[in-house]
Amino acid sequence: MELFLHQIFSGLATGAIYAAVALAVVMIFLAIDHFNFAQGEMAMFSTFICWALIDAGLPYWVAFVLTIGISFAGGIAIERILFRPLHAAPVLSHIIAFLGLFFILNNGAGWIWDFTIKPMASPFPEGSISGLIGYHEIGMIGIVLIMLALLYLFFRYTSVGLAMRAAAQNPESAKLCGISVGWMIALGWGMASAIGAVGGILIAPVVFLEPNMMLGILLYGFAAAIVGGITNPAGAVAGGFMVGVLENLVGTYIPFVGSELKLTVALVLIISVLMVKPSGLFGRTTVTRV
């Protein structure tokens, strides 16, 4: 029983990581209708910026806020420079651009900060509650839930949020309403980049900071987003926690999976959900009348 509880809690903790990444994935998907394969690398790069700022002597939270601002601006810049010229191009061109961005950021980080592992500080105290779940993990879950709440309020109650939803759904009609669709997409990129940055900064103390830190995590993030429903931010977060817990339970209780095949669980999950319920557990199926 103790083992079971322990696995659940540590699953929730890693789940928070996946949830943060999934949230960023969903944000981009809502804006441009594609997966951003470079999402993880963007988050990793942001985390390095945060690490560098702390290393330069800034207090943790100042570096945290600054990094989010820089990532937001960076996300907008990537959209304006790289993806804006491609907006009418076929999907394959986008995928290639995503891959290009992936390698630029991955190698860029390695070139600037080299490939050695760096320890990243946690803003939360060390220790844990009766050995079940650490304070850092609790903080991480809390911050992810706060981000989700803020996003919900933003999309539900602000006119910019409404304009963004409209631009994603029906760009032509949105333009006819006077909405600048191009800037809404750029804003989506900025927000996804900022959310990813928060995720990366929170993940780094757990997995250690290095250019390849997001590789496996992004896969779980995709799985979480797909399980939860790729169009639903709350679903993505729930999906993140579910994937985290499931990964742990399967790794512990199904002997042949162990820790080697854990990553396969994510892939199996992606494929099964896409086959059985493509809109995800909490995704909305659109009703249209023709």
Binding site: L162, R165, S173, C177, G178
Partner: protein, 237 residues
């Protein structure tokens, strides 16, 4: 009377194909002009060219200001509300969110709330469907929503693309009654594209007849209605 919309030598292209061959027309402030023509004559393209949705050359002037070459959203922000072909509903958003989107470029928030109320009075059925996903509305309801969404912009000029399309005759009549009321009460100028020539000529004061991207005939709606040729080709009696 002042001129609301002046179009001079407007040509439009889909890719390399030229579909409008330099048409010119004028729309008086507070007037209703209709563009008639067979399928493929370039009616929809004319509306799309006016608000920068297709590649076009020529000169478009809105109340004295040149708007040719502007982006679609800039044209909209200058008070041109386009009710597009296919209604342009935001199907996954609620009816009320659709209406609010119509007014999203406005900054006078109190007046927007009042306008929302006004739209529900024009179209009571939309109030009943307020929180319903707009994609689940019937065709007629979605057309009303599209017109109401356009009005939420407080437009100076409305471009209406086949408002009668796919609707039952009774609903069409109701729709045109409301359009006339909007034109009279709110002084909104209208450019109307319609397959139903009889209805359009009844509502409009001026008419242009398009044939394969050129103006074939134009004049006051009353005269066009009386024209033997038009009657045979478009009114069917």
């Amino acid at each position: 009377m002042a001129v609301m919309l002046q179009v001079e030598d407007l040509a439009a292209y889909y890719g390399p194909t030229k579909v409008l061959h330099g048409i010119s027309f004028t729309l008086e402030e507070g007037g209703i002009t209709t563009i008639l023509g067979a399928n493929g004559a370039g009616k929809t393209t004319t509306l799309r060219a006016v608000c920068g949705m297709v590649r076009a050359t020529g000169k478009v002037t809105l109340a004295g200001e040149a708007i040719s070459g502007l982006t679609t959203e800039s044209v909209a922000r200058r008070g041109v509300a386009h009710v597009p072909e296919g209604r342009g509903t935001f199907t996954r958003l609620s009816t009320e969110e659709n209406l609010r989107l119509g007014a999203i470029s406005r900054r006078d928030h109190d007046a927007v709330e009042a306008d929302l109320e006004r739209m529900y009075n024009y179209f009571p059925v939309l109030r009943e469907r307020r929180l319903q996903q707009a994609g689940t509305l019937s065709g007629g309801e979605q057309q009303m929503l599209a017109i109401a969404r356009a009005l939420m912009l407080r437009p100076r000029l409305m471009l209406l693309d086949e408002p009668s399309f796919g609707l039952a005759p009774l609903i069409v009549r109701e729709m045109f009654r409301i359009l006339r009321r909007i034109n009279e009460e709110e002084r909104v100028s209208m450019l109307l594209v319609e397959q139903n020539a009889a209805l359009a000529l009844d509502l409009a004061d001026t008419a242009y007849l398009l044939e394969t991207g050129r103006v074939a005939m134009s004049g006051p709606a009353k005269e066009i209605v009386a024209d033997e040729q038009v009657r045979r080709s478009y009114l069917g009696y």
